[in-house]
Amino acid sequence: MSKIRQLFGKDGERLAERYLQQKGYKLIERNYRCRGGEVDLIVLDRKVIVFVEVKTRSDHRFGTPLEAVETRKQQKMIQAAQFFLNEKGLHNREARFDVVGISWLGQKPAVEHIENAFELG
C-alpha cells in the first residue's frame, strides 16, 4: 500500500471524513451498526444530521462510485438512520442522506460529494 493510501486509511474513509470536515461538517460516528442496518459515517452539517455512505473505487470499470449505492444498501442505511434517531431521541431533527465517492486514479484520490443522494423511505 502506498504511503498516501496508508495515511488516509485503506478504504478512503478517512479521506471522506477529512473532506467533510474541511467543508465545516463535524464528525460524529463511523461504522454505525444496528440490527438490519448500517451506515458508514454520521456527520453534522451545522444542525442537520447527515448519514453518509462512502464508496471507493480504484477505477471506473464497474461504474462510478455514486452509481454503486444500490437500493438494498439504501434501505439498510435508512433503517440504521431511523434506529439512530429514535435511540438518541433525535427524531425531530432535520436529517438527510449523502454519498461521498472516492476514486483512486493512480495515486491521486478524487472526491465527489452528493448531498441528498436519496430520500428517506
Partner: protein
C-alpha cells in the same frame, strides 16, 4: 555489580537479559508500547534484540530523555540491534478492539517483525500478551516465545528501554505527519495526549478522522457537537 544510585534514575542493567541467556534462550527481545493514553493516533510497539553484552548508559526509559536525545539513540539502536520490529495499530482498530487489546496486538506485530524470531520476550509492565493473539505458532519459529513482564522494565532493562525509545520516536514521527494532514489540533506538539489545548480544539472542531471515538473525551466532544447530553451518544461502548 553496579548498584542503583540512591537518588536519581534507576540504573540500567543487563540482568534480565543474562538471566534469560542462562535459561538457554538465544534471541531475547525487549518489548514496549507507546500511545495507550492519547485521544488520537495509533498505538505503536517496538521489539528489539540487542547483541549479547551490548551496553550503553545513554539508553534509558524514553520518558527520561529529550526528543533530540531519543532521535540520536534511536539511530544507535537501529545500527546496533541484531533485529528490530515495529508494530502499529491504527485508530479504527483501537476503536473496534479496545485499547488494551490493540496495544497487545501492536506488540505481537512488533515481534512478528523480528528476524530471527525471539524465543524470549521481556515486556514492560505487569501484563503478558494473551497467547491467542500470537496467531499461528509457525510465525515464531515453531514455538511460543517465553514472556516475562517486568514492572518498570523501561528503567530496569536495557532491551526494553531501547524498545521504548524506538516506539516513542516512531509514534512521534507519525503524529507530526498526522499534524500536517489534520492541522487544527496540535498533534505535532502534544502527540495526541489530552492537554487543555487539545481538548479545546476537540470541542471547537469536533473529532478528526484519527481521533479515538471509543475514548470518553472524544465521545463527549461528539455529544456536544450534536447537542446531546454528555454520555448519551454512545454509552454502549
Amino acid at each position: 555489580m553496579q548498584l542503583p544510585a540512591l537518588f536519581g534514575e534507576p540504573v540500567q542493567s543487563l540482568g534480565f537479559e543474562e538471566e534469560s541467556y542462562a535459561l538457554g534462550f538465544n534471541w531475547i527481545a525487549g518489548l514496549d508500547e507507546v500511545g495507550r493514553g492519547p485521544l488520537a493516533g495509533p498505538v505503536v510497539a517496538a521489539a528489539v534484540i540487542l547483541p549479547r553484552g551490548f551496553f550503553s548508559s545513554d539508553i534509558k526509559d524514553s520518558k527520561l530523555l529529550t526528543a533530540g536525545q531519543r532521535e540520536k539513540l534511536a539511530e544507535v539502536i537501529r545500527e546496533q540491534a541484531v533485529s528490530l520490529g515495529i508494530g502499529i495499530v491504527e485508530v479504527e482498530e483501537i476503536d473496534r478492539l479496545n485499547i488494551l487489546k490493540a496495544s497487545f496486538l501492536a506488540m505481537v506485530k512488533a515481534c512478528q517483525g523480528l528476524q530471527p524470531a525471539a524465543d524470549c520476550i521481556l515486556i514492560d509492565g505487569n501484563q503478558m500478551i494473551p497467547r491467542e493473539l500470537f496467531g499461528p505458532v509457525k510465525t515464531f519459529g515453531g514455538s511460543m516465545p517465553r514472556q516475562k513482564a517486568i514492572v518498570k522494565g523501561d528503567q530496569l532493562c536495557l532491551s526494553i528501554a531501547a524498545a521504548s525509545i524506538l516506539a516513542k520516536v516512531t509514534r512521534d514521527a507519525m503524529m507530526v505527519e498526522l499534524d500536517r494532514i489534520y492541522p487544527d489540533y496540535g498533534f505535532a506538539s502534544h502527540k495526541g495526549y489530552g492537554c487543555a489545548a487539545h481538548l479545546e480544539a476537540l470541542r471547537r472542531f469536533g473529532p478528526s478522522p484519527v481521533h479515538r471515538r471509543s475514548f470518553q473525551p472524544v465521545r463527549d466532544a461528539c455529544c456536544e457537537s450534536i447537542g446531546l447530553e454528555t454520555g448519551l451518544l454512545f454509552p454502549e461502548r
